[in-house]
């Protein structure tokens, strides 16, 4: 079947100051296909799509739609040309219901009449087999439902080209499967779909064709069926690379509980609990994963253990009760917990200060007297930069001018070097490229070999299943169960993440 070109981008350039986000990108999307844009973080995927949806104006290059050169001046302009964009962070008004969000902002929408709008939405949903209650309020919806609203919103406005920016980041396995069905329906209905992602498996699962971006340049554009995950990874990174997550086997009999959680609760004002864990042990020589959709209590768990948040119940580190202590009290009692928090620059590092100042954060207090030991701090910084391959001009460079991977190396290095028995790594590879991610996995495995008990909060189930010994699943703050990583599938984890408790497994794995 001969396909016509729907959208073509030629030699697109876009700079932000000295940073070339897009440097000569070519993209050809054919009508009625699902086209994946694959690239690591910072490779210019989102910039490219923001150009196509009218948010940014390109510094150079051409945009052609159905063979004719166009210029897209604004998101509204893009919409009129049939381009709909679904952002990673939804742009919906929480207090309004679905249909109001769908028509809101359109010309003359007041005159449309609710009945007619509802009828039109239902027809649309029928056509693409979408499940949506147009009169439900947004704040009552799950993330998957909100995404459906965004999709309907774009379709309702006549989008023929749908761009989705990392749509699966916030979804469970089952919701992702559901989304992919919707995308296939849309394709069948004549829509062209562009999906931005950095997950290889997704590209293989859903796309017809894939364009790979690397450092702002389009490297290649190939038919998905002619490729495989290894080949894509190689194109994405630029060299042959091992995409498997390394697992280290340790003898079972050496494992002893280091951190023991019993009846842990964080009460929420009003109703319910933000965190509810009856029993969970993290053992030496193991990596215990925490799975769950975003905001299921992961942050609360980390902050409770480290004393940043108040809770009831019991958390014992080698017999010492941690509940009731704040970070300062822990410091005084020589309780050390390595902690790489989720929001690195918001907590854990001070972005405006230098590398060596940030490294001193954990050690400055142990120096004697009133003064800082600058000499010692510089030695520490030089060591860390060397041991963790931080690429920087030196210890005096400000944290905020480092790349994401190097920032994480500084934080991880500082926390590992504390030599704690218990280590928390919250989303340690978020936003990092494959090379930096592998480095982090390696370092965590090294710690595991030394006998450290590691709590690994993750989002990518493939990674969790790869690196962890056991995985605990949280749903709305409640511990649903703990499973052995080796004998569990993504589907089982997905069910737990959606709140279906596995009978009897909660304690079985301990």
């Amino acid at each position: 079947m001969e396909k016509s070109t729907e959208v073509e981008l030629r030699h697109i350039k876009k700079c932000f100051g000295p940073v070339k986000a897009n440097d000569n990108v070519d993209l050809k999307v054919y009508a009625g296909e699902i086209h994946a844009i694959l690239g690591e973080n910072g490779s210019g995927k989102s910039t490219l799509m923001n150009i196509l949806s009218g948010l940014y104006a390109p510094d150079g290059g051409q945009i052609l739609m159905r063979g004719e050169q166009v210029s897209i001046r604004s998101p509204k302009d893009a919409m009129e040309k049939g381009i709909g964009m679904i952002h990673q962070h939804f742009k919906l008004v929480e207090a309004l219901c679905a249909w109001e969000n769908i028509v809101g902002g359109m010309k003359n929408h007041v005159l449309l009449g609710k009945k007619r709008v509802l009828a039109e939405i239902r027809t649309l949903c029928g056509k693409y087999k979408l499940q949506l209650d147009p009169e439900k309020k947004i704040y009552q919806m799950t993330i998957g439902e909100k995404q459906t609203v965004e999709i309907v919103k774009a379709l309702y406005r006549g989008a023929e080209i749908m761009i989705l920016d990392e749509p699966t980041a916030v979804l469970t396995e089952q919701e992702t499967e559901r989304l992919f069905e919707i995308l296939r329906e849309m394709k069948a209905g004549g829509c062209t779909v562009i999906i931005i992602t950095h997950k290889l498996q997704e590209v293989m699962d859903i796309s017809d064709r894939v364009t790979i971006l690397r450092k702002g340049v389009s490297v290649d554009s190939i038919l998905t069926r002619d490729s495989n995950a290894e080949r894509l990874a190689e194109l994405m990174v630029g060299r042959t690379i091992d995409i498997s997550v390394p697992y280290v086997e340790m003898p079972r009999n050496r494992k002893e509980p280091v951190l023991s959680i019993r009846d842990l609760r964080i009460a929420e004002r009003g109703a319910g609990e933000k965190l509810k864990i009856n029993r969970l042990d993290v053992c030496s020589y193991e990596i215990l994963g925490i799975a769950g959709v975003a905001d299921s209590g992961q942050k609360e768990l980390c902050e409770t253990i480290t004393g940043m948040q108040k809770a009831t119940g019991s958390v014992q580190l080698k017999g010492t009760e941690l509940i009731g202590m704040d970070p300062r009290a822990m410091m005084k009692q020589q309780i050390r917990i390595g902690f790489v928090p989720e929001d690195r620059l918001g907590m854990g590092l001070a972005a405006g200060l230098s590398i060596s100042d940030n490294i001193a954060l954990r050690s400055y207090r142990s120096e004697k007297g009133l003064f800082l030991n600058k000499k010692e701090e510089n030695i520490q910084a030089v060591d860390l930069i060397k041991n963790y391959n931080v690429s920087t001009s030196g210890g005096n460079q400000a944290i905020q001018s480092l790349s994401g991977g190097n920032i994480q190396k500084v934080l991880l290095g500082r926390e590992i070097d504390r030599g704690a028995d218990f280590f928390i790594a919250a989303y340690p590879v978020r936003g990092l490229d494959i090379g930096a991610s592998n480095f982090i996995y390696e370092k965590l495995n090294e710690e595991k070999k030394k006998g450290v008990a590691i709590l690994f909060i993750g989002e990518d189930l493939d990674v969790l299943l790869g690196i962890c010994d056991r995985i605990a699943v949280l749903h709305s703050g409640e511990l649903m169960g703990v499973v052995e990583a080796k004998t569990t599938t993504k589907e089982q984890l997905g069910l737990l993440m959606m709140g279906q408790k596995l009978e009897g497994t909660e304690y079985a794995a301990n």
Partner: protein
Amino acid sequence: MLRIERKTDGKFLHQRIISVLIALAVAGIVIAICGYNPIVVYREMLEGSFNSVYYVQQTIQKTIPLLIMGLGVAVCFKMNFINIGAEGQFYMGAVAATYVALNVSGPPSAVTLLEMFVAAFLAGGIWCLIAGFLKSKWGVSETLVTLMLNYIAIKLVSYLQYVLWKDPKSLGFPKIANYPTDLQLKSVFGIHAGWIIAIILTVFVWFLLHRIKLGYEISVMGANERTARYAGMNTTRILLLTSLIGGGICGLAGMIQASGVEHTLNDQMANGMGYTAIAIAYMAQMEPPAILIVSFLFSILLQGGAYMQISMQIPSATGDVIQGIILLFILGSEFFSRYRVIREHKQKEEAK
């Protein structure tokens, strides 16, 4: 069409110097509109600041309170504690020193001077600590509290000057009695000894911010309070201690000005210098050596402005105008250090 974009690099220093030069040019236009030759005016200002030993001494003397208050403000700013109450802390320091000077009798005078010093530090410090306490307890904005406390301090001084401490020997003139001569700061090289204290304080604040643990904690708190808590710092203690030190240093400026220049207390002695100090600390990016230089430059404007009034019959407010224009441009230049403005290409250019 013009477009605005975030910048990733920043050349702060040369940007600031350029903005000062542009400000001087714009102020020159204003002066020209007023009917004076701007080049002559600027030359007169420099002459008024440097042309004789006396003028240089005057310029340095005017630098002292600006420098000290700039240091005090910088300590607070480093913690992201927006203390704009240097003016009030200055007056409270002067009030406390004056109380000691006029009521504590008996030699040796060195001991009394030391007492005045401590009293001024505590008074200024506590004035700032009120804002620190309210912030730590209830999260009250320190900007508003320190500003409001300025007015209270100034009115308190007026009340003391006109009613409570009015000197009965001043023949009804609203004036507080002069300090005994042995409690007036002695001259060293023709300038009252406050300059020595100011230099010691500059070194002290540099050490505090760069070499002492508390200063490190202040920097971390200023950069990110959550990170400070994460690292186990006692954020409340740091907040209170820093506001005490910052306000205390401003209080010292009040004592030095009262003892070294005014030889008494009056409600005109700060004359907005506490606000100028905020600009100085900000321009110098809280770096003590830079504060020293910037406060000297500002005192040229003050001294030059005062000289102009006499030599050219131009109101000394001209100096204030120039100062205001410079500040405006410096603040404006912040925008350009963070963003760049780009002229957008026309569609035709894009197509070729």
